[in-house]
């Protein structure tokens, strides 16, 4: 199978993820978009590792997964807290720092 197809898939996934982050107001959905973008990146890293026969790309993918797992924990905790206090999960409502 042509490895380029993986890259095209990764590009499509990344674009979907980015579009989700940019367009959706719901924090949970936007978060899912971020996850999608991270996984698209992982796919690219793994694909290139395969292409060049070099394992460092795969190692990097592991790192991204670990960081993403930590990020999910922190991010979800924040979202839950915001939802509890403000009764809303819309990212547009969270603009308290703007005077």
């Amino acid at each position: 199978m042509n490895l380029t197809n993986y890259l095209v898939l990764a590009t499509i996934l990344f674009s979907i993820g980015a579009t989700t982050v940019l367009l959706r107001r719901n924090a949970i959905i936007a978060f899912m978009g971020v996850e999608l973008m991270l996984n698209a990146t992982n796919l690219v890293l793994v694909t290139y590792a395969r292409m060049h026969g070099d394992l460092s790309g795969q190692v990097m993918a592991f790192f991204v997964m670990v960081v993403a797992a930590a990020e999910v924990v922190v991010g979800l905790a924040i979202i839950v807290q915001i939802f509890r206090t403000r009764r809303s999960a819309s990212v547009d409502d969270i603009n308290l720092l703007k005077s």
């Binding site: 940019l22 107001r25 936007a30 990212v91 547009d92 603009n95 720092l97 703007k98």
Partner: protein, 663 residues
């Protein structure tokens, strides 16, 4: 005549070398220390010393006088050649190149000043005890008077220009404090400031002169400087001389720095007598006579000195002829008399001794006249307008007689003091070659005539003629008099009249006594050098006759206008000259137009440019930054998604840019 002119060669003996002081003379520092400590005590003790403070002041001044007298006797006991004594006190400025010792020089010149300052000073201290009796700040007044005496003695005793400068500033400070003694009165405070500023201009001259001396000779003490003078170029000496003259003009109220003296009369009358008549204002004459070697080597500077003196003596005399304020008339007279001294000092060795001689006699009679004026003011409820006096001789006999003696002394009637000293200056002014003796001699001669006029005017208006004040019972036809407050002129208390009597005796007799056999001029010879007797361009008897004739004319004119004819209470408009003289020859307007207004314009434009350019640049930059920040702030919408969008756009741009540069 021509043969006498041909022999006019100034042959001056070199100054006597200084010997180290020993014995009683080594206590000379006490002269300065005693009044200084007394001033400090009076200022620090505060209200607690109000009851006895004034007597401490009198005592300190008297102690200086007694010590001065002892020094004088001990110096008189020495040979003429050994009368210059140096008392080294301590190393003052041990800088590498500029090494100045604080030391005192006790010699005939400084001793003459010590005696004048402490004797007249003590009398005026005594007078002030009564004059300032009702002033709540009498103690502070005596503290300042003591401070003045200390500073003045330091000025005349210093053995270097730098130490002299300390005293010079000290008397300026005391003068400032005393002119503005009643500083709750704004014009008085302004007068004090004016005196201080005018003096600062002169001080600058002394500073520059000292810097030049240091640059040229590497020292500022008299001994070294005067020893180095013969080897110096005339140009340097001329500039030093002119700068010293500037200093003298500031302190002695000579043209063009004369304008402060009239306003200085705002101070209490004893201050006018001591500081602004007898002693401080003569410091300029002292400076020039002390710096004689410098001036002897700079004929151009000497000529300028003479011109300034001659001009000021006429200027002061003309102003004095128009003033109705008794103290301001006396102030103008002081200016004029100091003009005589400066003129004499500028004539060189022929004149130095006469300048100091006139300074001493003037110190006596002018202090006496001021104290008399103070006594008149005391009896007339602080009235100073002579047009509101008249006929006071009947009410204050002692003041009348003592003032009269001072008056006869100043106009130079023989055998009173002024005749001996002023006549000598006029004779000396006629010595020389070419146009100079004729011009300067005539100025001095004319000045004597005008002096007789204005002093007679002052005397007649005050003590003779009809009453121009409201005595309370005889109805005056003149409404201006009838509506004035009732006056009860009375003689001053004994504490005031005794100093006046002593000064009047001095005014009458001192000049004649010191002239016997030229005792005073030969006393000063160790400092001023011996001047070969010179013949004036006219025989001496002609000059004396002319002087007396002019004095008579002045007196007669004054009698015709102010003695025989009634004096109007309101001053008539008068001629253009008297209007100008009343306004001090527009000296304030000239100063305002030439100096004050351009100065204010300069400061205003500097402030404007500081605000607009310097501050403008700084706050303009800040303003621009604020505007930029304002614009940038709009990018911060607060929406997470727009931040994400800008990040995405930025990333895309970055990637495109990287790719574009790759290709």
């Amino acid at each position: 005549m021509t043969s006498s002119i041909a022999t006019l060669v100034a042959a001056v003996e070199p100054q006597a070398a200084a010997a180290p002081a020993e014995g009683i003379v080594s206590l000379a520092w006490l002269l300065v220390a005693v009044p200084l400590v007394s001033a400090a005590v009076l200022l620090l003790a505060g209200r607690g010393s109000d009851r006895w403070g004034h007597w401490l002041g009198v005592l300190a001044s008297a102690a200086s006088f007694v010590l001065g007298l002892v020094l004088l006797i001990s110096v008189l006991g020495r040979d003429a050649g050994e009368r210059v004594l140096d008392l080294r006190l301590f190393t003052w400025l041990p800088a590498e190149a500029l090494n100045v010792d604080a030391g005192l020089r006790v010699d005939p010149l400084s001793l003459t000043f010590v005696m004048l300052v402490t004797f007249v000073g003590t009398l005026i201290h005594v007078y002030s005890v009564a004059y300032m009796e009702h002033d709540t700040d009498r103690r502070r007044f005596f503290a300042y008077l003591n401070l003045f005496v200390a500073a003045m003695l330091l000025l005349v005793l210093a053995d270097s220009f730098l130490l002299l400068f300390v005293g010079w500033e000290g008397v300026g400070l005391a003068s400032y404090l005393l002119i503005g003694f009643w500083n709750h009165n704004t014009p008085y405070a302004v007068a004090a400031k004016k005196a201080f500023v005018a003096n600062r201009v002169g001080d600058l001259g002394l500073l520059i002169a000292m810097m030049l001396m240091f640059a040229a000779f590497g020292a500022v003490d008299f001994e070294t400087v005067f020893a180095a003078v013969p080897g110096a170029s005339e140009g340097v000496l001329t500039v030093i001389g002119l700068m010293l003259l500037l200093a003298a003009c500031g302190k002695s109220a000579q043209f063009p720095l004369q304008s402060w003296l009239g306003d200085a009369m705002a101070g209490p009358t004893p201050v006018s007598a001591l500081i602004h008549a007898a002693t401080m204002v003569t410091a300029g004459v002292y400076l020039i006579v002390r710096s004689a070697p410098v001036f002897d080597g700079a004929p151009t500077a000497q000529l300028v000195v003479v011109v300034v003196g001659a001009f000021t003596l006429l200027l002061g005399a003309i102003i004095g002829s128009a003033k109705d304020d008794i103290k301001k008339a006396l102030a103008a007279s002081t200016m004029s008399q100091i003009g005589y001294m400066i003129l004499a000092a500028g004539l060189g060795p022929v004149g130095y001794a006469f300048a100091i001689f006139h300074l001493v006699t003037h110190g006596f009679f002018k202090a006496g006249l001021f104290l008399g004026a103070g006594s008149v003011m005391h009896g007339m409820g602080d009235q100073v307008d002579m047009r509101r006096f008249g006929g006071l001789g009947r009410y204050m006999k002692t003041t009348y007689v003592t003032f009269g003696l001072g008056y006869l002394a100043i106009i130079g009637v023989p055998p009173f003091s002024g005749f001996w000293s002023k006549d000598k200056i006029i004779e000396a002014a006629f010595v020389g070659e070419g146009w100079r003796p004729w011009v300067f001699g005539s100025a001095a001669l004319l000045g004597a005539g005008i002096t007789a006029f204005y002093m007679s005017r002052l005397f007649f208006m005050t003590f003779l003629g009809s009453k121009r004040w409201n005595d309370g019972h005889s109805a005056s036809p003149d409404a201006a008099i009838a509506n004035a407050p009732v006056q009860h002129p009375h003689e001053a208390p004994r504490l005031m009249t005794v100093p006046m009597i002593v000064l009047a005796v001095g005014s009458a007799a001192l000049g004649g006594l010191l002239s016997i056999g030229g005792v005073f001029t030969s006393w000063l010879e160790p400092v001023t050098g011996r001047a070969e007797p010179h013949a004036p361009v006219m025989p001496i008897w002609v000059i004396t006759t002319l002087t007396l004739l002019l004095v008579l004319v002045g007196l007669a004119l004054a009698w015709r206008q102010y003695g025989a004819a009634p004096v109007p209470v309101v001053a008539p408009a008068g001629s253009a000259l008297s209007r100008a003289a009343r306004k001090d020859m527009y000296q304030d307007d000239v100063n305002d137009a030439l100096l004050v207004e351009p100065g204010q314009y300069l400061t205003r434009s500097l402030v404007y440019s500081d605000r607009q350019v310097v501050d403008g640049a700084v706050s303009g930059l800040a303003h621009v930054m604020v505007r930029i920040g304002d614009r940038m702030r709009r990018l911060q919408t607060g929406y997470v998604r727009s931040y994400a969008a800008s990040m995405t756009v930025g990333l895309v741009v970055l990637v495109v840019a990287v790719l574009a540069t790759r290709i």
